[in-house]
Symmetry: C2
Subunit: 307 residues, 2 copies
Amino acid sequence: MGLLVVGTVAFDQIETPFGKSGKILGGAATFIGLASSMLDVKTGLVSVIGGDFPQTYLDMLASKHIDVSGIERIENGKTFFWAGRYHNDMNSRDTLTTELNVLENFNPVVPAEWREPQILMLGNLHPLVQKAVLNQLNKRPKLVILDTMNFWMDHTWNELMDVLKEVDILTINDEEARQMSKEYSLVKAAKKIMEMGPHTLIIKKGEHGALLFNENSVFFAPALPLEDVFDPTGAGDTFAGGFSGFLAKTRNYSFENMKRAIIYGSALASFTVEKFGIERIAELTEEDLNDRLDVFKSLTNFDIELD
Amino acid sequence: MGLLVVGTVAFDQIETPFGKSGKILGGAATFIGLASSMLDVKTGLVSVIGGDFPQTYLDMLASKHIDVSGIERIENGKTFFWAGRYHNDMNSRDTLTTELNVLENFNPVVPAEWREPQILMLGNLHPLVQKAVLNQLNKRPKLVILDTMNFWMDHTWNELMDVLKEVDILTINDEEARQMSKEYSLVKAAKKIMEMGPHTLIIKKGEHGALLFNENSVFFAPALPLEDVFDPTGAGDTFAGGFSGFLAKTRNYSFENMKRAIIYGSALASFTVEKFGIERIAELTEEDLNDRLDVFKSLTNFDIELD
C-alpha cells in the first residue's frame, strides 16, 4: 500500500451564494483519495459508512484505482452527514447540521494486507481513533501525516498530544496553529508545535496559501488567485491528498521534495473549489493538472542573480 | 532623475506591544527614498516640512544620496505628525493623532531640473496634489506609479478617477481594492481596477504578501514569515520604494522584471518591520539585502519538471 488513508466518507449538503448542492458525496478520506489517485499511487481508504451509502459512489472511487475494501458498511446505520452554509466572502461558514451517525462508534480496522503502508495519512478524527490505527500497523510507515482541528484541541488535548508524539507531519490551519501554541506569530507557533512531536508542520492559510516548516527551513506555497471560489469544501483535504500522494509516488521525503508536494497539493486544491464537492476533482485529467502546475510556476517563480 | 518621489516627510509616534517610539522620523517619501537608495538610484523627494524639522534628518537622507532639495521648509509651520497604537496582533491599529500642519496646504513644486524623471512615484496624497505634480513634468515618465488609500476613495472619488487615467501602476491594499471595485474576489477586483487606467496593479496583503497583475498575468510575492513584527509602520512604503527603485535601476519595465522588483520590495519591507520607523532600513547594508533575497528564493522557488 502506497498511501493508507483513515478518515471520513460522508454526505455533505452545501449552500453557497452560488446555489445549493443537495446531498452529495463528501468526507475527508474521499477528497484525499481522489487527489492521491491523480498521482497514480496505490491508495486504500479505511472508513465507515451506513446502509444508506450508494454503491455507485464506491464504484466511482474504485474506478479511480482507490481501494475501498477497508470501508466498513454498517447496514443498519446511517452515513455521517454534514450540512453547512458559506457566507458571501466564502471564507467563513455556518454548520447547519452535523449527524455523526456511524462515525460515533467508528472502530477502524486496517485490513491485514495493508499493515505496512509506505505513508499513513490520519485524517481529522478523534485522536484515539488515529492512535488505534497507528497501533494496528506491523511497522512504522516511512511517513505519518496527521490532520486535526480545534474541536480536538478543545475536548481531547491530552489524547491529541499523545498521538502527536508519533507523527512526522502535522497539517492544521493558521488559527488552529495559534490555538495550539498560544503564539500569534506563525513562526513562533511552528517552533512550539514541532516540539510536540512532528518534525515537519504545514500551516494552511486558505486563500492565503500554505507554509511548510521544518527545524531549519520554511517554504511558502500560494493559493491560486481565482475569479470565483464556488465551494471551498474539501480544499484542505484535497491539498493533503495531493501532498501525501506526491510523496508516496516519488518516495523522496526530503524538504526539497516536500516543496514540490505542497505545490501539487495546492494545484489540486485549486480545482476542488471550482465546483460543488468532488465534482471537479473527480473529472480531472492529467493534462488539466499539468497545465495548472505551469500556472503555479509562473505565479511564483522568479530569477534574481546575485553577485 | 531616476526616481522622483512625491509624498510625506513627517513625524511619527508609535506604540506597539513592544514599546513606544517617541517622536521619530516617518512619512511615505522618507521610506520610499530610503528603500530606493539601497538600489543606487538617483532619487529626489518632493515634500514639505515645518520649521520644527531637524536638519540632522535631512542630512541623514542626503548621506544616502537622496536629493532633498525638493523638500520645502515652511519656517513658521509645523511638520505633519501622526501618532498610532498597534494592537496585539500587529495587523490592526488605532490612529491617536493626525496633525496635517504644513501638509494641509501642500502645493508641490517639482524643481526645474527634475522635470524629466525616468519614474514618478506618487505617494499617498490628495489626488489633486498627485495630478498637480504630473502636470509639472516636461514629458511623460517611463512609468507613473500611484499609491492611494480608502480615505481618498471616500472623499475625492472623482479626482482619484481622473488622476488614475494617467497612471501605469497602482498600489493599494486588499481591502482598498475591494472597496474600489466593489468585488470581493481580488482577481475580479484587479480586472475592474485596470479598466480605470493603470495597466498594472499591485495589491498589498500585508503579512500575506502581494499580488502583481497585468492584463494577462499574475504574480505572487510572499511576505517573509517573521518571529516578531516589531513595527509595521512604513512597510508598504518601503515595498513601493524597493519596487520602483529596482525598476529605475534596471530600466526594464517588462512583467518579468516587475516580478524581480516586487521581490526586492518585499525583501526591503521585511527589514522595516524589525525595528521602529526607519531605524532598520537606514542601517541596512548591501550584504544584508542580498542575504534576505536568498531567503526569499528558498522561501518560494521550487522545481517541478513536467513531461
